[in-house]
C-alpha cells in the first residue's frame, strides 16, 4: 500500500504537494497538468483535480481508479484554520480514520458518506487496490465561512458553534439531494468557460444542503436505496453517452437495474425530476441543436441520434423547438453577420 502524506490548504500548492509525495511513495513520476494529477499507468487512472475557486475556497474532485491501494495521511496541525467537507460517492469501501474516533467506511453506501473535519485533527483515507473513487472534497477557511454566512450566523448561532468549534468533527449519511448536487461537479457537460463560477455555485448548493441536514431531519421519502439509485444514475449516464444507439425501453432498463418497471419510473423521476422518456427526448433534442451549431448536416445529426427516418427527426425537432432543423441551422449561420 502506498502512503501519501498531504496537508490541507486552499491554494494550488495542495496539488503539487500531493504529486511530490505520491512520486516519493510509488517511485514513479506523478506530475501536475491542467489542475490535475497525471498518474503512471500502473498506479491509478482517471481524474484527480484541484481548483482554487476564490480566496479561501477550493475544490478537490476525484473520479478515478486507484490501481494500487493508497493511504492518504494528514497529520494534525496546531492551527485550525482550514475545514473540509468530504462527500464520498464511491460504491466500494473507502476507509476513514478520524483522530480519537477510530476507523469507519465512508464509501459503499449512504452511511457516513459525508464527513466534516478540521485541520487540527489528523485523518487518513484508505482505498484498497482497484477502488473506484468518486469523491468531492471542499476545503474552506474559517474566514470564508464567516463572510459567506453572516445571516446564518445571526439566525442560528448554535450552528456556527457546531461547525467552527475546535472539537467539531462529524459524519452524516448521504441523501439524494446531496448526491445530485455532488454529481453536478463530476458531471459530463460542464461549462468550459466560467468553470470556477460554476463550481462555486455547486459548492454553495452543497453547503446549503449540508447545513440544512444538520438542522432538519430527513423526510422518509428521501430515503431511497443507495445501490439502486446508483444503478439508475449509471444507466442514465450510459444511455446519454450512446445516443446514437436506440434508447432502451423502460422494461429493458429496469431489468438492467434489477428493479421492476414501476419502481424504476418512480426512482428515475425522484432523481432527475423528469419522466424517463421525456428526459432522453430532451437530451436528444439538445444534442441535435448542439451538433447543428457545430456545422454538421441535418442528415448526419439525424443518424448520430439514431433516427432512421429524417422526416421523423425533423418532426420531433419541430415539436420540441417549434422550428425546423433547416430553419434553425440557417438562423444560426446568419447570426452576427
Amino acid at each position: 500500500m502506498l502512503e501519501v502524506k498531504y496537508s490541507m490548504t486552499t491554494s494550488m500548492e495542495f496539488l503539487s504537494n500531493i504529486a511530490e509525495h505520491y512520486t516519493k511513495a510509488c517511485g514513479e513520476t506523478v506530475s501536475v497538468r491542467d489542475h490535475s494529477l497525471v498518474f503512471p499507468p500502473a498506479v491509478a487512472e482517471g481524474k484527480f483535480s484541484f481548483y482554487e475557486i476564490e480566496p479561501g475556497l477550493s475544490l478537490c474532485c476525484l473520479d478515478c481508479t486507484f490501481l494500487k491501494g493508497v493511504r492518504f495521511r494528514r497529520s494534525d496541525t496546531v492551527t485550525n484554520d482550514i475545514k473540509v467537507l468530504h462527500i464520498n460517492l464511491s460504491t466500494s469501501p473507502f476507509w476513514l480514520y478520524q483522530q480519537g474516533k477510530g476507523t469507519i467506511d465512508v464509501g459503499t453506501d449512504w452511511k457516513n458518506a459525508v464527513f466534516y473535519g478540521q485541520s487540527n485533527f489528523a485523518s487518513e483515507f484508505v482505498a484498497e487496490d482497484g477502488t473506484v473513487a468518486r469523491v468531492i472534497n471542499i476545503y474552506f477557511t474559517k474566514d470564508w465561512w464567516v463572510t459567506g454566512n453572516e445571516i446564518m450566523a445571526q439566525q442560528y448561532p448554535a450552528l456556527t458553534d457546531i461547525l467552527l468549534s475546535k472539537t467539531s468533527q462529524l459524519t452524516i449519511d448521504l441523501d439524494l439531494r446531496l448526491l445530485l448536487a455532488a454529481q453536478e461537479i463530476l458531471g459530463v457537460a460542464l461549462p468550459k468557460y466560467g468553470l470556477n463560477l460554476y463550481f462555486e455555485g455547486c459548492v454553495r448548493k452543497i453547503m446549503a444542503l449540508f447545513v440544512n441536514r444538520l438542522t432538519v431531519p430527513l423526510a422518509e421519502d428521501e430515503m431511497l436505496d443507495f445501490a439502486e439509485v446508483s444503478r439508475v444514475i449509471a444507466a442514465k449516464d450510459k444511455i446519454l453517452n450512446e445516443l446514437d444507439q436506440p434508447v432502451p425501453t423502460l422494461e429493458q432498463v429496469a431489468t438492467q437495474c434489477h428493479v421492476n418497471k414501476s419502481k424504476f419510473s418512480y426512482m428515475f423521476r425522484a432523481v432527475f425530476h423528469k419522466a424517463y422518456s421525456d428526459f432522453f427526448l430532451e437530451a436528444k433534442m439538445q444534442k441535435a441543436a448542439d451538433l447543428l451549431l457545430e456545422g454538421y448536416s441535418i442528415a448526419e445529426v439525424g443518424s448520430a441520434l439514431n433516427y432512421k427516418n429524417l422526416g421523423h427527426f425533423a418532426g420531433a425537432f419541430y415539436n420540441y423547438y417549434h422550428t425546423t432543423p433547416k430553419f434553425y441551422k440557417k438562423s444560426l449561420f446568419n447570426k452576427g453577420k
Binding site: 460554476y198 454553495r204 447545513v211 437530451a283
Partner: protein, 338 residues
Amino acid sequence: MIDVEYYHTTSKKWFVDFARSLSAACGEPVLIENNNLVLPPSVGEGRFEFYELTDGFSLQIIDCVFFKKLRLSRKSNSGNEIYKVVYNLSTAPVIVNKRSGAVKNLSNDLAEAILLSSESMELGVTFEANKPTRVLIIFFSRQWFMRHIGRYDYRIRVSRLQNFVASNPMQFTTSMDLRSRQLAEEIFHVNLPQLVLGQYLTGCSKQLCAFFFNQLIEEEVTEERIQSKEAVRIIRLKEEIEKNIDQPIPRIEDAAEMCFVSRTKFMTMFRAIFDDGYSSYFQELKNNKAKEMLSQGDAIEDVASSLGYKHISYFTKMFLKRNGLSPADYRQKYQLNR
C-alpha cells in the same frame, strides 16, 4: 393596463421603491413581506420575489398571473454598472420594447428566451393579462462581473466580454440551452428553509451565470473556428491555383463551391486575406509571371500557353492593355542577357 416606471440596482432598495410605484399606479397598497412583494388581489396573484444574494448579485423570481396587463418601463441610466439577464420560462411570450421602438418577443421556445440588458438601455416589458408568467431575472454589477469572469484572459478575444469591460451599452437576446432551462426550473422549485435558501439560490444563480457566459464565449469561439476552417480552405485553393497556373483559373462560383462558402463570402474573405480581389489577384500574378518569362527571352507562344491562354491574340491584347506595351515590344525592351 397598469403602467409602472422603475429603476433597478442589485440592492433591495429598488424593490421597495418599485412596490411604491406599483402602488401609485394601481391605487392600492403594495406590501413587501420578507423577499416577497404581495400583489393586491385586483392586480395579480403568485410569487414576485427579490433576493439580494451577495455583493452586487441578486435574483428576482416571478411566478404569477397578472389580472391586468402590466407594462414596466425602465428609466435609462447614464452609466452601465448594472446588468440584468432575463430568462423567460412562461408558455406565453414576453414582449420587450426597445429604445428604437422595435418590439422583441422573448419567445416561449428556447430560441430567444434569454435577454441581457445594461442599465443605460431603455427597456419596456409587457406582461399579458391572465396568462401564467414565469420569469427569472439575475442582476449583477460590473464589479461582480470583473471579479468572476472579467479577470480571466479569454475576455481579450471575445468582443461581447470586451463590451462589459469597456462598460458599453449592451442589449441582446440569446437561446436557452437545456442545462440552463433545468437550472432555472430548479430555482422555481427550490423548497428549503429560510436559513439556507439564500445560499442555495446563490449557488443555482451562479451556475446559471456560468452557463450564460460559457455560451457567450463559445458562440464567438465557434464562429471563429468555422471562419478559420474556411480561411484555410481558401488559402489552400489559392496555392493550388498558383501551382497549376497553366490551367484556366476557376470561375468565382466554382472556387467558392470548392471552399464550401457562398460566392459573396468567398469574395469578401479572399479580399480580407490577400488584400486583393480574386480575379485581379490572379491577373496580376499572371502578368508578373509573363513579364518575368519575357525578360528571360521565352517565346510569346510558350509564355501564353504556360499561363493557360488558349489564344495568343487574347494574351497579347490583355498584356498590351495592362502594360501599355505588346509582349514583343516588352521583350525587346527588357530582355536580359541579350
